[in-house]
């Protein structure tokens, strides 16, 4: 009997020793299922990107209160409806961008068309067949779970972060949460000029921190140049917006030369260069007028 107790103790000690040996190895192993991303990777593999896309579209469906074209309506939609442009542009509904015009067209669009038969006509009573948007009482918050899920499934999908941050910041007044989510996005996508731009806007528009805003926007511009210059179809819209914000930051700080330099760059891409030239002239005029210049904050080039 005592020998069996001894054997049991020996086995226990052996197991314990092995556990102390294996535990650190398991924690550092890439295939470990201990982290949340590990679980998602194990469950979905590469298909998680497909699901991320699905949930991103789900957010857009929620934004339209369930009124959304199915896969069977997509063909017709791509030919005619501006709503497709909204989908392709990542579901951004910014009222300070040209996409807003698309959105107004989208309101008037009707992907359903006339009912094809009595079943189609009668069936429209039982699903969302009227085009409306989440635009009151902070209802926009309803799209956020799907954007969060989309980002969890595919952290490389930059739009999930920027779209969610837009709604959090502009409509729901949740600046802290927007910034936190953008920082999560930046950790997953350190080269993303879109996320840097949004962070710059948070710093400039919400935090009123011109110094940080300038650093972030300049970094965004640098990243844009690294990735987009030389592309056959560069993301001109975002380039213009980055520069537009940099001009605002420099104007506010009284750095007229820097503002002029950015406006000159903007002019080369702008569809209305005369307007930009007018702005440059205004700045030159301001610059030559005798005035007390505001002290420019120290530039911190990262």
């Amino acid at each position: 009997m005592p020998s069996s107790y001894l054997l049991l103790s020996l086995l226990f000690v052996a197991s314990f020793s092995l556990a102390t040996l294996l535990q650190p190895l398991y924690q550092s192993w890439e295939g470990s299922r201990t982290s949340s991303t590990g679980v998602i990777n194990v469950l979905f593999g590469d298909s998680r990107r497909m699901f991320a896309n699905h949930f991103f579209v789900e957010a857009d469906i929620y934004f339209h209160n369930g009124y959304y074209p199915s896969i069977f309506d997509q063909g017709k939609l791509h030919e005619s409806s501006p709503m497709a442009q909204t989908i392709e542009s990542g579901g951004k509904h910014e009222h300070d961008s040209p996409r807003h015009d698309d959105h107004e067209k989208e309101r008037k669009s009707d992907f359903m068309g006339q009912p094809k038969d009595w079943i189609d006509r009668f069936g429209r009573n039982f699903y969302a067949s009227e085009h409306t948007h989440l635009e009151k009482n902070g209802d926009e918050r309803e799209i956020l779970p799907w954007l969060r899920l989309s980002a969890e499934l595919d952290p490389k999908r930059v739009e999930s972060y920027t779209v969610a941050a837009y709604w959090l910041r502009n409509r729901l007044g949740k600046v802290k949460e927007a910034e936190q989510f953008l920082r999560e996005g930046l950790r997953a996508n350190p080269q993303s000029y879109e996320i840097l731009f949004e962070l710059g806007r948070v710093a400039f528009e919400n935090r009123k921190d011109s110094q940080t805003a300038r650093n972030l926007l300049e970094l965004a511009l640098r990243r844009w140049r690294e990735q987009q210059e030389g592309n056959s179809e560069p993301d001109i819209l975002l380039h213009q917006r980055i520069i537009g914000h940099l001009v605002e930051v420099e104007e506010q700080a009284g750095n007229w030369d820097a503002a002029k330099k950015y406006l000159e760059e903007l002019k080369t891409y702008s569809p209305a260069p005369q307007e930009i030239q007018k702005q440059i002239d205004e700045i030159t005029q301001k610059n030559t007028l005798p005035s007390t210049p505001q002290p420019a904050p120290a530039r911190d080039d990262k």
């Binding site: 069977f72 038969d117 069936g123 039982f126 699903y127 918050r141 956020l144 959090l168």
Partner: protein, 258 residues
């Protein structure tokens, strides 16, 4: 009528003796509460995703209860040989069918009531908004959809060899109609003849179960369904349930039971 009611009561008693409903209800409740406790951007007013998931779980649970409960009714009576004393009461075969149908349908109604009560509480406590009439319309249409499904499953239980194959086939048909029913007409119109006529005829003839799926209207707080449309949908469901029950009676009428 008394015979039909007596048979129906037996089916209802079977539901609360079996564990199917309890398991599905606890699972639905657990998953909903778990998802409701997730912190999303420190905003506790986000509710639509929860409504969507809760309603999806309710739909899946109710379909499982309806199909599985109905599919085993007649095969179990035959297997246990209790069908012979039942028919010797005397209870006609039509009464057996109607009794089984009524029992399964009422059983699903009770389950639906509990599920929707839970859904109403979950959504109301988060949303502070109680659209009772919308919930009533949704529950009613859901219940009538289950009437069609139960009638189809009863017919299937007289055609297919085993309850498992019947359940699987009916489940596939129902999910297929719910997902594609609305779009089959559009697909048909893009096909060349004679495929177009064949698919379009199928589209016109099949029971359009998607009429009864008003989850999107509930999730997105849409307006009430027009009462005339709601009434017409009820009549539509009655007609299809009667049609499948009649087919089931034709199949059962002269079926050898041993």
């Amino acid at each position: 009528m008394n015979n039909i009611l007596a048979l129906a009561i037996v089916v209802i008693k079977e539901l609360y003796r079996r564990k199917d409903f309890y398991v599905l209800f606890v699972l639905t409740g657990l998953l909903t509460v778990l998802l409701g406790s997730v912190n999303l951007f420190n905003d506790d007013k986000i509710v639509r995703y929860l409504k969507e998931i809760c309603l999806l779980l309710i739909w899946v649970s109710c379909l499982v209860i309806a199909i599985v409960t109905t599919a085993r009714q007649i095969p179990a009576e035959r297997e246990n040989r209790t069908i012979f004393p039942l028919l010797a009461k005397p209870v006609s075969r039509a009464q057996v069918l109607l009794g089984k149908f009524t029992g399964c349908w009422l059983t699903c109604g009770l389950a639906l009531l509990i599920f929707y009560l839970f859904f109403g509480v979950v959504s109301g406590t988060r949303e502070h908004h109680w659209p009772f009439l919308n919930y009533f319309q949704a529950l009613w249409l859901h219940w009538w959809l289950l009437a069609i499904v139960i009638a189809m499953t009863l017919l299937g239980s007289l055609i297919f060899a085993a309850p498992s194959s019947n359940s699987t086939i009916i489940f596939i048909i129902v999910v297929g109609i719910l997902l594609l029913g609305r779009h089959l007409g559009k697909v048909a119109l893009q096909l060349p003849e004679p495929s177009q006529s064949i698919v379009y005829s199928g589209y016109m003839a099949m029971p359009h179960l998607e009429f009864f799926d008003v989850r999107d209207l509930i999730i997105h707080n849409r307006d009430l369904i027009a009462w005339w449309a709601w009434g017409m949908a009820t009549l539509y469901a009655m007609a299809y349930s009667a049609f499948f029950l009649f087919l089931a009676w034709l199949a059962f009428r002269k079926k050898a039971l041993n």
